[in-house]
Symmetry: C2
Subunit: 256 residues, 2 copies
DNA sequence: CGCACTTTTGAACAGAATCAAGTTTTGTGG
DNA sequence: CCACAAAACTTGATTCTGTTCAAAAGTGCG
């Protein structure tokens, strides 16, 4: 057994532990999404121990609620979730849709309290990552630290993209960009990028895109009529990606 | 002289060095904004050494440009800046306004390249913080690490707020919320929260709020007529904060 | 299997964009 | 310091996109 060189939370090489192994990050299909590349074995083991447990979240259940103290971040293992905040007048505004491999709760770090509600759009399973342990471990594993910073930063970039979309595009362009974004995220996870299921309602999409649900419905119909997409209930197919991209680019409209 | 207990980038207690001292974070009026509380003296010294130098940025000059490699983050010491991204069709969209104490470049960490342009709205002075050194030092000073995470997270929260505003409020509400936000940020920096100068053009404000400059102008006029504010060129005064808050809350409109 | 929710579609309306002057401010060079 | 040109701002009239209101059809959950 190798000698431990200094006090650290890195574990000795793990023994066989089937119960843990089944849940291990090292065995997770989302590894590339969640973990930085190039970790040493004992670092991977440490990360495995970092992740507390898998936890199921039933459809319509809250993973966390606004104003609740932040204890853990959550990585989605399976399923689809949405995050939303409430307007002063009580209306709900969706601020994000989240799929397997996404890390949730990042916006709570600033105040140590959640600032949005996270709701499962279907039955989900999430990995719980205690925030304090994450900060501890990322001090010891520079690659993990850098990876975490990248994730935070990318969230900012994503939000800037949304600001762009909300501030400068019209209905059809927003929808086109939204669908292309989903497509890309599905592709990155190994799912079909041309055919997928919209797990959220039209109202959710509208809220996210700053549109009314009727407008979403109309825009989808029009895009279907023009042969860009096929929609049937929540099942969506991208038929002409070129045209869809053109719609997203061109429907920038509003010569801000 | 105290013995150094382990290899580290923390310096020995600094000697008198007037040139450095004048620029030191420890002497900076923005200390509370930039630095975590409760650092030990030698930690503060380390942070002082982290910040490379003050650098002037003339009005209209770029602090950094999109797609440029990220080397450093920048903290604004004096002056006002804006960040913007370009739409596919070349239109500029403002994604943020930045004032003393703000940290810029956070959105570049994800890709190691800047994803927006930063332009000085007036003559500025910024502190350059090399990213690699920051990550190094934050591994050694947990308080610094936590502070940095908080800053990143708060940026995400701020952006969510913008999404809310862009997605769910109408022109006058957006403007009211924008002005109140500015007011609050000025207050946090010790400036007047009721009377200040808008360093940006109406077009910049419009771009930021997803409105045309004419709409901004009209909304400002109307709010002036109704006694909420006083505007004279770029000089703005908040006359009736209650009503302004009501406008921001009530003009949520759009029953999304 | 039925009831509630979701979605589609239509018609009227409203808010903001666009187009168009005209005015004021600012910045520059003489 | 003034004059002039460019930029920024205000205001009005018109147009158009998206919202609102309304009703009917479709889905799927319990």
């Amino acid at each position: 057994m190798p000698a431990r060189t200094r006090a650290t939370s890195l574990p000795a090489p793990s023994r066989l532990d089937l119960g843990r192994l089944r849940n291990a990050c090292s065995a997770c299909s989302l590894r590339e999404l969640c973990l930085p590349a190039g970790l040493e074995q004992r670092e991977i083991d440490a990360v495995d121990r970092l992740v507390n447990r898998r936890r199921p979240v039933a459809r319509r259940e809250y993973l966390f609620r606004s104003n609740t103290p932040l204890q853990s971040l959550y990585a989605i293992r399976t399923g689809f979730m949405k995050t939303s905040v409430l307007h002063v007048d009580g209306r709900e505004q969706v601020v994000g849709f989240h799929m397997p491999g996404d890390l949730m709760g990042l916006d709570a770090i600033g105040s140590s309290r959640h600032v949005c509600d996270a709701i499962a759009l279907e039955d989900c399973e999430v990995c719980e990552i205690p925030m304090d342990k994450l900060e501890l471990l990322s001090r010891e594993i520079p690659a993990l630290q850098a990876h975490f910073h990248r994730i935070l930063s990318r969230e900012i970039v994503r939000d800037h993209g949304m600001m762009l979309l909300l501030g400068g595009m019209r209905a059809e362009g927003r929808l086109a960009a939204f669908l292309l974004g989903l497509s890309q995220r599905f592709a990155a996870r190994g799912y079909s990028s041309t055919e997928f299921v919209l797990r959220m309602t039209r109202a959710d999409i509208g809220s996210y895109l700053g549109l009314k649900l009727e407008t979403v419905s109309r825009a989808l119909s029009r895009m279907q009529d023009n042969g860009l997409i096929g929609v049937r209930n929540r099942h969506l197919r991208i038929i002409d990606r070129e045209k869809l991209q053109a719609a997203a680019a061109h429907c920038a409209g509003k010569a801000t």
